[in-house]
Amino acid sequence: MAVFEVVAGAELPQLKREITQDKINRYALVSGDGNPIHTDPEFAARSAFEGTVAHGMLVLAYLSEMLTIAFGNRWPQSGRLKIRFRGPARPGDTVTAGGKIEKIEGGRASCSVQCCNQSGEVLISGEAEINLP
């Protein structure tokens, strides 16, 4: 069940999560993605990122949790998502996931969604659609 008023123009409830190397390592284990760009500080220091970065799918999981808070089980039951990864999240970053209902049409809410870091840099942006009751 939605916990805010589902109307066009409404802001989705924001979700904040801190990125730590420990969280990245745990996600690497559970996802099976052990790419050293995420888990090996020495390797990552020599890469274009100049340090480890979080898995894009970990940051996207925060956006997904935000949609679950906003729309409940309608998100995993009927959601659509289309996003681009625009920048890396690094250990020490605070990620804020949020969005806005852009329109309600045909029984679906169309939302703009994004994840930003503490400097306001966009890490993920895109669109989500969820069926409404």
């Binding site: 996600y27 799918m57 808070i69 995993p76 659509r80």
Partner: protein, 128 residues
């Protein structure tokens, strides 16, 4: 293992069954700090992560590869303990400014063959 960028457009990965254990779902929820999802329903991004992991069991990512974009559509909820079958196909492959762009379509079905999620992952990697 074959590198993903060496596979041609149209390449199909064999459908692969995956049993989603309740313990794995619990570990996923802990790893992602997810306090909103209940542990009975598999979160959409957990399904997508499993689909990508299944794909990468068949072909490795080349060094420098970046996950550039993701699309997904949830068609039905998946419960912890359920079996899914993941299938994937390389549907586009191109080059731009020294980078190879590759799009993989993924389909996730339940044990009865009903689709529960579809998606597309766009990957970019340096041209070798």
């Amino acid at each position: 293992m074959t590198s993903l960028d060496s596979l041609p457009k149209g390449f199909r990965f064999p459908p692969t069954p995956v049993d989603i254990s309740p313990d794995w779902v619990r570990q996923y929820l802990e790893a992602t700090d997810d306090k909103a999802s209940d542990s009975d329903t598999v979160p959409p991004m957990a399904l997508a992560a499993l689909a990508i992991r299944t794909l990468l069991n068949n072909a490795r990512l080349p060094e420098g590869a970046i996950h550039a974009g993701q699309e997904l559509e949830c068609l039905a909820p998946v419960q912890a303990g359920q079996r899914i079958v993941v299938a994937a196909e390389i549907i586009s492959k191109g080059e731009r400014a020294g980078w190879q762009l590759l799009t993989v379509r993924m389909e996730v079905a339940d044990g009865a063959g009903e689709r529960v999620m579809t998606g597309r992952a766009t990957l970019s990697m340096p041209v070798r």
